[in-house]
């Protein structure tokens, strides 16, 4: 029964690639949207509680339900899955952007202001760099959960490693299911390790503790 694997490698690789796209793109979009929202929320405190509540409510919606809600507009397409997963990524990344920026020691921001940094330069050159570890921690959760949730997209016909679960179940062929599970885990692990490496490269000051 393990012979199924070598005879289907091209299918497995194709599904892995599609799953990777459905996992990584939403996390990146989520990051791009979270940054401005998080910056606003960190600066104007009143902005954050309502946004956080809204984000948490959206996060509570089951992924399949969100896919279905998007189908009338975007159809049974990658776009539907990517939008839904972007929203979920946003939910985990945004709080980390806010916490990362709020975690910058007040003495450091005060010193930056007193040195003559304007607000934008201070944000770009002092606050965001110092928030990187916390932001990337959020991004890691976003990527891993998107890779995992992408397989649910198979239920509305969007191709991913989820195909192996459904096909394996219908054919009562567990090997296919095992391969699907292992590939999802491997994919998540590899992406996570890459993000750890990126974090290390961007934060050399944390290297030697």
């Amino acid at each position: 029964m393990w012979s199924w694997i070598p005879s289907n490698t091209s299918l497995i690789w194709q599904l892995t690639w599609e799953n990777l796209k459905l996992g990584v793109l939403p996390a990146l979009y989520g990051l791009v949207i979270s940054l401005p929202l998080g910056i606003i929320a960190a600066r104007w405190r009143w902005f954050y509680p309502p946004v956080l509540t809204a984000v948490n409510i959206i996060y509570a919606v089951p992924s399949l339900a969100l896919f279905i809600a998007l189908i009338p507009t975007f159809g049974l397409t990658d776009t539907t899955v990517i939008i839904a997963l972007t929203v979920f990524s946003l939910c985990v990344i945004l709080p980390n952007v806010v916490e990362g920026l709020r975690g910058v020691p007040p003495a450091v921001t005060q010193a930056a202001t007193a040195m003559g940094y304007g607000p934008l330069r201070r944000l770009a050159l002092v606050e965001l760099p110092l928030a990187i570890p916390v932001i990337i921690a959020g991004l890691r959760v976003g990527v891993v959960s998107s890779i995992s949730l992408a397989s649910v997209g198979q239920l509305i016909g969007v191709s991913s490693l989820g195909y192996l679960f459904i096909d394996g179940l219908q054919r009562s062929f567990p090997t296919e299911i095992y391969v699907g599970i292992v590939m999802v885990i491997v994919l998540a692990l590899v992406c996570d390790l890459i993000l750890v490496a990126v974090r290390r490269a961007l934060t050399p000051w944390l290297a030697r503790a």
Binding site: A107, A111, M115, G116, Y117, L130, W205
Partner: protein, 383 residues
């Protein structure tokens, strides 16, 4: 020169942090703002670089109202040092120091060269240039903070409790270095502290605040100790201000006796003939002090015994005549078993000893002169 004209800071909740403050910080001098917490000293400091805006009144920097200046531009010309250092954790020591030069558009290479110069100026090793702040000790971080504030050579330096977070020994050496740096650089410094000892040590002028932001007294440190304006000031400067004030009086005019000073090769008979209760035994070659010999115990020894063989009490400590203050001389007398202060020259050779009576005479003479010799601050005697 920094001028506060009727400056008030009132917060929206009605708290008054600073109340109608008039203050002038002369160019090239160190002004210390001191007082209990909540007295408005830090608020006053932060108004100078517009981190806090006054509710009423005007602050002038060299005659120009600071509200007419762009805040970021203004701040690049004012060095700023704070207790928690506020160093950028993500930048190396040299890049931290180069912050303001880079902001003002220096090429990075030139800014880093300048950073290395400043490392040397604040007494740090060049090897630290590529380290990150968390890899340095608290005292080293504070020095980097001072170097960063000085990097663009601003005429004004603001220091908010700069030495409060380091241990007392490091603090004392940082204070000493600030004093010698300032003697060289002649910046206009405003330093905030809650420590009156620090204020008296580093200040040319001390502005003592009352709670709620009014001035209790503005005076040079020796005047603050000699003539406190009221009970509040007297209480704040402490009960031993009479003795601490002696830090500002030189020992140049102190009368010294040589009667009880004998070299170690002199005999017991000669020591007893001097008629002194205690003999200061010195080295026959170098003239440096060895210790005190008790005449009552010398009397029990054969008359021809050299003093060097007699048991001697430890020296306590000596004072350097002319360099040290009367406070150091008085301390030397208190700690000596003989009750005498041993005065030495710069080479450590004994010049003579002073009795409590002679010390008192010198103190009274200084009071009569009323500080007219102008010996104060960093130009005064070593404290």
């Amino acid at each position: 020169m920094i001028t506060f004209e009727a400056v008030t800071k009132r917060y929206p909740d009605g708290t008054v942090a600073v109340d109608g403050l008039d203050l002038e910080v002369p160019a090239g001098q160190t002004m210390v703002l001191v007082g209990p917490s909540g007295c408005g000293k830090t608020t006053s400091l932060r108004m100078i670089n517009r981190l806090v805006e006054p509710t009423e009144g005007t602050i002038l920097l060299d005659g120009t109202d600071i509200r007419t200046r762009n805040p970021a531009q203004l701040r690049r010309g004012i060095g700023y040092v704070i207790q928690q250092t506020g160093l950028f954790p993500h930048r190396t020591v040299e890049d931290n120091i180069a912050t303001v030069p880079v902001l003002t558009g220096w090429p990075r290479k030139k800014a880093r060269d300048r950073a290395r110069e400043l490392l040397t100026l604040v007494g740090l090793d060049q090897d630290l240039a590529r380290r990150y702040p968390h890899q340095l000790s608290g005292g080293q971080q504070q020095r980097v903070g001072v170097a960063r504030a000085l990097a663009a050579d601003p005429p004004v330096l603001l220091m908010d409790e700069p030495f409060s977070a380091v241990d007392p020994i490091v603090r004392a050496s940082l204070q000493d270095e600030l004093i010698s740096l300032q003697a060289e650089l002649r910046k206009t410094i405003v330093l905030v502290t809650h420590d009156i000892e620090e204020a008296i040590k580093v200040g040319d002028l001390v502005a003592l605040f009352r709670p709620h932001g009014t001035l209790a007294q503005l005076a040079p440190p020796e005047e603050l100790l000699a003539a406190p304006a009221d009970d509040y000031v007297a209480g704040f400067v402490g009960f031993d201000r009479g003795i601490r004030r002696l830090s500002f009086v030189r020992t140049t005019g102190l009368a010294l006796g040589t009667g009880p000073v004998l070299p170690a090769d002199a005999t017991v008979a000669k020591a007893l003939a001097a008629g002194e209760p205690w003999i200061l035994v010195t080295d026959p070659q170098s003239g440096t002090p060895r210790g005190w010999a008790d005449a009552a115990r010398l009397a029990a020894l054969p008359a021809d015994t050299p003093l060097g063989q007699a048991a001697a009490e430890p020296l306590g400590h000596t004072f350097t005549v002319g360099t040290d203050s009367l406070r150091a001389a008085l301390d030397a007398a208190v700690l000596s078993p003989a009750g005498l202060a041993a005065g030495v020259d710069d080479g450590g050779r004994v010049i003579g000893v002073a009795t409590f009576d002679q010390l008192r005479a010198a103190i009274q003479a200084a009071d009569a002169a009323d500080g007219a010799d102008g010996a104060h601050g960093r130009n005064g005697p070593r404290q």
